[in-house]
């Protein structure tokens, strides 16, 4: 397995898809050889110098720590890293939608982590989409978006629960249904209280929610409150002085209002009912 590049940049930058492509070599995808970092540094577009958020060191040290802590159990790394990455790299959704940032993080800053987390013994390689791919596939952006979608205001607790289920962040995240905040919180609640546990159950539930959602407007059943953009801006501003995130306790996200409890409760009940009648592959019928 590869180690980090000889030259790791000090600051995050933007790496366009076309510029990144030549660095996605067979050697890298097979986890055998990493670029030195020098040539890659030449093709990036820099980010503003005076913004502390683009400092690489806090992210690089998170990645080193997670590889050390989860050496025996790689998939467990997601639940630990997602909230901490989100709280370290404080982004707006607009910024997070820029794939160039994630390309740079994966290829220039931590290609060793991408290989460590996503190397498949079966195929003997890492899928290229883990370096440069859709936002729900790319190694780091999928974690950031999972944290963004499942956090309840400043509380990252639901993110830990959600990321503990690979099927939830692998298949369900891409369905637009979780963009409705109360829906995302209700799904986490079903996981947390043990109503659903296995990946198959998660998929069965999501299919049922999706099918019902074709005729139901969840915004009416479970209204959400509008968000205040100033709260997020303040949190991002605090990045200039914020200490590194704790390795032991969950950090706090932007101080936004949580999802209205009535809405989460209403949807949790509704989904529980849906799930009881949903077809789940492999589940025995009651008789």
């Amino acid at each position: 397995m590869i180690t980090q590049p000889h030259h790791v940049p000090e600051r995050l930058a933007l790496l366009s898809g076309s510029a990144a492509d030549p660095f996605l070599t067979e050697g890298l995808l097979m986890g055998e050889q990493v670029h030195s970092g020098i040539d890659l540094a030449k093709v990036v577009e820099p980010l503003p110098e005076d913004d502390a958020r683009w400092s690489v060191e806090p992210i690089r040290s998170l990645v080193d720590d997670v590889m050390f802590a989860f050496e025996k159990e790689r998939t467990g790394a997601d639940a630990w890293l997602a909230p901490r990455l989100h709280a370290t790299l404080r982004l707006t959704r607009q910024e997070a939608a820029d794939k160039r940032l994630w390309n740079h993080l994966a290829l220039a800053v931590a290609p060793d982590y991408v290989v460590w987390r996503h190397f498949s013994e079966r195929t003997g390689r890492v899928a290229a989409e883990r370096f440069q791919g859709p936002s729900d596939r790319q190694c780091f952006s999928r974690l950031w978006w999972a944290a963004e979608i499942f956090r309840n205001g400043l509380d990252y607790g639901p993110v830990e629960v959600a990321c503990g289920n690979q099927d939830l962040i692998h298949t369900v995240l891409r369905l637009g249904l979780l963009d409705h905040r109360p829906t995302a919180q209700a799904v986490v609640r079903l996981l947390k209280d043990g109503t659903i546990t296995t990946g198959r159950e998660v998929n069965g539930l999501s299919v049922a929610i999706n099918a019902a959602g074709a005729t139901l407007i969840y915004d009416v059943l479970a209204p959400d409150e509008p968000r205040d953009p100033a709260r997020l801006r303040d949190w991002i501003e605090e990045a200039q002085t914020a200490p590194p995130v704790s390795r032991h306790v969950l950090p706090e996200g932007p101080d936004e209002d949580p999802v209205p409890e009535d809405s989460v409760a209403a949807l949790t009940d509704y989904f529980t009912e849906l799930f009881e009648t949903a077809p789940v592959r492999g589940r025995k019928s009651e008789d």
Partner: protein, 331 residues
Amino acid sequence: MKIYPYKRLSRPITLRVTSVALKLSDGTRDPLDTSAYSVQEQAVALGVAGHTDWVSATLGVSATLPPGADASDAAWSDLCVLAVLTDGKTNVRTSTVLTRDPEGSRDWSGTLELIRDDHVGRANLSAYAVGTVDGVGGRSITETDRSWVVDTVSDEPVRGLRLDVRKASFTKSSREWLRAYADAPWLVDTTARVPTVYVNTDIDGIVGLLDSNGSGVESKVRDLLVAQMATDVWTAVFHGAIGDLEVEPGGGPVFPADWQGEVLREMLPDVVPGVHVEEALRQVHRRRTGDSGWGELQTRIHYAAVRRAEAAKAVGYMIRSLERTNRESET
């Protein structure tokens, strides 16, 4: 065609944007004039006023329900109308409840707040009429059949695919990756937020030619060149869009958001004629990921690109212009 297990209205909601105002970072508001939105195109362009410091936009919306929504024997109760803004790139969903204008009117109106930090390019705005049917709340009774496009960057309210054209010296560009392509007159990059064409200024005279607005043969050559570039672009964006398709758990491809979706909706009727675009997408996806048929499809993709680029027109005018020049030099 979706099947609904309950009674609905058969006609769609008509949705209009009636006003747009930006909230600036100093707390002031700038109401934009009507050039910011187009009912014809069903598009809003928040970039028209040229502000770089806006925080949020307030859209005034008005929805007209089809007849029958208020019928005394309607199958639903608790009627309400919602405007919903979604953005596939940023996973944002914002909804607002509209209020009925005067008592008994079929028009419902309200405002919807769009936060700039939450969007990257284009968001979709649609409306739903919702009611309780057979004891089930939250049922959609009818909705808009074509959503509005809210572009947070553009300064012109148009729906169609927008390209970014940039001129760069490939050998000296700060985009160092362009240097590997120094001998190409232009390149298409489909990995950017919007498809971008880079024109290589190192090719002597290319910029002068493209910028020329003269008449005669020169302008026809320019049009031909533009048609050639456009053909390349349409071919590249089609492959770009089809190559990044997401697949549902059930196995079917999902129509992508943003420009990829627009490209596919535009080109698929020429690539797989005679079927609904959703079915066309499934067929193309199957041929790309399956064992056969991908090669055969290339001619159709090329045809769709050539049509979009209006290449036949450019070639036709070019030939006529040459004929005229030859005739004039003979006499």
